[in-house]
């Protein structure tokens, strides 16, 4: 009822969206499962920065998936839009106000325009040629931002706020320390901590701001996926030629998808700046573009939830595993006999702390080898197994075609 009238979604999608909303709201609790001071507290991820990053990169990946999952066009330069969005947002904060709303709006507009220009050129080619065109534009943006465009981007250090920025609207209320980002006076870094059963939960304004926007972005993505426009984009993926023969020009559709997904990236970039007013050139490096591709595939390309999951897993690994140093390992395994302890710690140390990249690499390989279709596929298999266990014989295959990654075409030249 609620879904149909107000949101325009069918029952299943409404349920799905409600689950997503619940999960997002409860993230500060869900990511903080271990008691403070216990040895597993290291794995707690419920602190504001990580939660914000997961929500923001979730938005980025969802947007990327609108292009890649639906049309099959693999952009390898999406980080450029995120970077441009960040720069636009920080400039807004430097010039006008620390309120994040104008900053985020400007970020979306600027990255949308940027995406329109790049998309218009790049979409003249398809397949790998398209990927390399987007990559080339993004690398150009990165290299310029790092060096020649330093007056605009502050180069290596990244664009930061400073005390002598104009900030026209806030001028009157500023003291001699840097202002903080806020939404109509409510500071983004304000947090409320609650302790329950030895667990400390942090409810942070910035996170909830990101969460609300992420839910909206997610909702828009669902609507897009289900709309006639989404159908057109799928047609582009499955057979562009046939589409052309029926008298439809695919280009406006793909360009629209490209711009929308560029604006998602800009939104993510703007939010990054809103949480932490700094915009660095590194955000546009090809590895950053690769990261969003990998988040999407890891979670499950073409699925709604997959990219968010992928973003969560990668950010979690990056932030939590890199901090498990040998002294933390010692504190875990100190009860082992000395010789064995050293061996165990040596093995773990290869995968944590400075070795966290290894965990990342191994995860990629394992997931893609054993779970084609990504983490969503894994969850689906898991839930299927549980359901089958309950009802013994359920011949109905619960997999939803909408949520299932369509197989891409086979490798050419085979």
């Amino acid at each position: 009822m609620l879904g149909k009238k107000i949101l325009g979604l069918n029952k299943k999608d409404t349920r799905f969206l409600l689950i997503v909303i619940a999960l997002t709201l409860l993230t500060p609790v869900l990511l903080q499962p271990f008691a403070e001071g216990s040895e597993l507290a290291q794995f707690n991820g419920g602190y504001p920065d990580l939660m914000q990053k997961i929500a923001i990169f979730g938005i980025f990946a969802v947007g990327f998936n609108i292009l890649f999952g639906l049309t099959g066009y693999l952009s390898f330069g999406h980080a450029a839009f995120l970077g441009v969005g960040s720069y636009a947002a920080v400039w807004m904060m430097k010039l006008l106000t620390m309120n994040v709303i104008p900053a985020i709006l400007l970020a979306m507009v600027v990255s949308g325009l940027f995406a329109a220009a790049i998309g218009f050129v790049s979409l003249r080619r398809s397949g790998i040629y398209f990927s390399i065109l987007t990559l080339a534009f993004a690398q150009m943006s990165y290299k310029m931002a790092y060096s020649v465009l330093t007056p605009l981007t502050n180069g290596e250090t990244g664009l930061q706020l400073s005390l002598d920025d104009p900030r026209v609207l806030d001028r009157a209320i500023e003291g001699s320390s840097l202002p903080v980002t806020n939404i109509f006076g409510l500071a983004m870094n304000a947090s409320h901590k609650v302790e329950v059963l030895g667990r400390v939960f942090t409810f942070n304004v910035g996170y909830y701001f990101c969460a609300v926007i992420a839910v909206i972005a997610f909702y828009v993505a669902i609507r897009l996926f289900r709309s006639p426009f989404g159908m057109m984009l799928r047609a582009v993926k499955s057979n562009q030629q046939r589409m052309t023969y029926t008298g439809l020009d695919p280009k406006p559709y793909t360009l629209a998808a490209f711009v929308i997904s560029g604006m998602y990236a800009g939104l993510a970039g703007g939010l990054l700046a809103a949480m932490d007013p700094l915009a660095g050139a590194d955000r546009m490096l090809w590895t950053a573009s690769g990261e969003v591709v990998i988040m999407t595939i890891l979670g499950g390309a073409g699925t709604l939830m997959g990219p968010v999951l992928g973003a969560g897993v990668i950010k979690y690994l990056e932030n939590i595993f890199s901090k498990i140093n040998e002294s933390v390992l010692h504190s875990w395994f100190h009860w082992l006999p000395d010789g064995i302890e050293d061996v165990v710690i040596w093995v773990f140390a290869r995968f944590t702390g400075e070795g966290w990249h290894l965990t990342l690499g191994v995860t990629f390989m394992l997931v893609v080898t054993f779970l084609p279709g990504g983490l969503v596929e894994g969850l689906k298999r898991l839930s299927k197994r549980i359901r089958e266990g309950k009802t013994k014989r359920d011949k109905y295959d619960g997999s939803d075609p909408e949520h299932h990654p369509a197989p891409t075409k086979r490798v050419a030249g085979e």
Partner: protein, 343 residues
């Protein structure tokens, strides 16, 4: 004039590096259709073959010299390489000195093995998977290989000098009749260029003039039919993988004296090589080589002060600018084949 000639030389040198790496990549990516993000890592492993051999030759036993003190004030340990003890000082020293060229012999079997293991153990299962999956799995593999190298060799660049005989430079300009002392060129770079030419020639003639090459080329064009003809195309593709790894690996070995190897050099070259292969055109070996040289030369020209003073920063982005121009004017790059990875 001298400036242009000099930058042409530099460009040829840079180009031969790009062409060699791109050649290996295009064997796998342009023709087998596997998006191999681990290719840079293979190049890196090649370079570390040189490092490893030089370390092996430098394995030393220690003797305590009570006369000298180490940094803590304890008696210093003097290291003598085993090879010098076994083969006499002069021959042992020469062996160590020639570590890089010797590493070519050492690296080829290793790299072929790496290629085989990669293909049989992993990539084989991904021929029919979407490109996206191939990216993810090979990227994961590249990270793993990188971390392994980092564990053993650290993150800093490692000095791997060329043999003393090739260390200096010669006055190339004077030989051509230009003013002396203007066009000076290091011997090793000339060696590298010649080496690249030989390898590229060998790969081409191998694919052109041998039955094996013929079958592989047929397999690229239509794998299914070749398979139906009763030819084991799979095994040949495995061999191609080994070949590609050996080409990239030997490129890495020979490049080590020019660029001190470090564990992330593969990633630094990776993007560039994809650009080179695609600009050359998918499925075309000559295209990849031509694009490698073209981009190398243009990169050198764009770093001339005269050019940079007009367009500041152009040397940073020239490769991408050229790539965009070529891909927009020639839909399939320089020599790409129709229908390869266009959807």
């Amino acid at each position: 004039m001298e400036t242009i000639l000099l930058q042409l030389l530099n460009g040829l040198d840079k180009g031969s590096a790009y062409a060699l790496i791109a050649l290996g990549l295009t064997l796998i990516f342009g023709t087998l259709g596997v998006v191999n993000f681990a290719h840079g890592a293979i190049f890196m492993i090649g370079a570390f073959c040189a490092v490893t051999l030089s370390r092996l030759l430098n394995l030393s036993f220690e003797t305590v010299d009570p006369e000298k003190l180490d940094f803590l004030g304890n008696p210093a340990k003097i290291k003598t390489p085993y090879v010098e003890a076994w083969f006499g000082h002069d021959f042992g020293h020469a062996l160590i000195d020639w570590a890089v060229p010797l590493a070519i012999l050492f690296s080829i079997p290793i790299m072929i093995a790496v290629g085989f293991i990669m293909e049989r153990g992993l990539i084989k299962h991904f021929y029919k998977r979407p490109h996206a999956d191939q990216i993810l799995v090979t990227f994961g593999l590249a990270i793993v290989l990188q971390e392994v190298i980092k564990y053993f060799y650290g993150a800093n660049p490692i000095s791997t000098p060329a043999p003393d005989a090739f260390k200096g430079s010669f006055d190339f300009g004077a030989m051509l009749g230009f003013d002396p002392n203007v066009i000076i060129y290091p011997y090793w770079r000339l060696v590298y260029f010649l080496f690249a030419a030989v390898v590229i020639g060998a790969v081409f003639s191998f694919l052109r003039f041998t039955t094996f090459g013929m079958v592989v080329r047929a397999g690229m064009a239509d794998r299914e039919t070749v398979g139906l003809l009763g030819i084991n195309i799979d095994r040949r593709f495995t061999i191609m993988f080994g070949l590609a790894a050996a080409v990239a690996g030997s490129a890495g070995v020979m490049y080590a004296p020019i660029l001190s190897p470090n564990y992330h050099m593969g990633m630094d070259f990776l993007v560039l090589c994809f650009v080179v292969v695609v600009v050359g055109g998918m499925g075309s070996l000559p295209g990849a080589v031509a694009a490698g040289f073209l981009l190398g030369i243009l990169e050198s020209f764009s770093s001339m002060n005269a050019v940079k003073s007009i367009l500041p920063g152009i040397d940073q982005i020239i490769i991408y600018v050229v790539a965009i121009i070529i891909l927009l004017t020639r839909p399939r790059g320089l020599m790409g084949k129709k229908g390869v990875m266009e959807d």
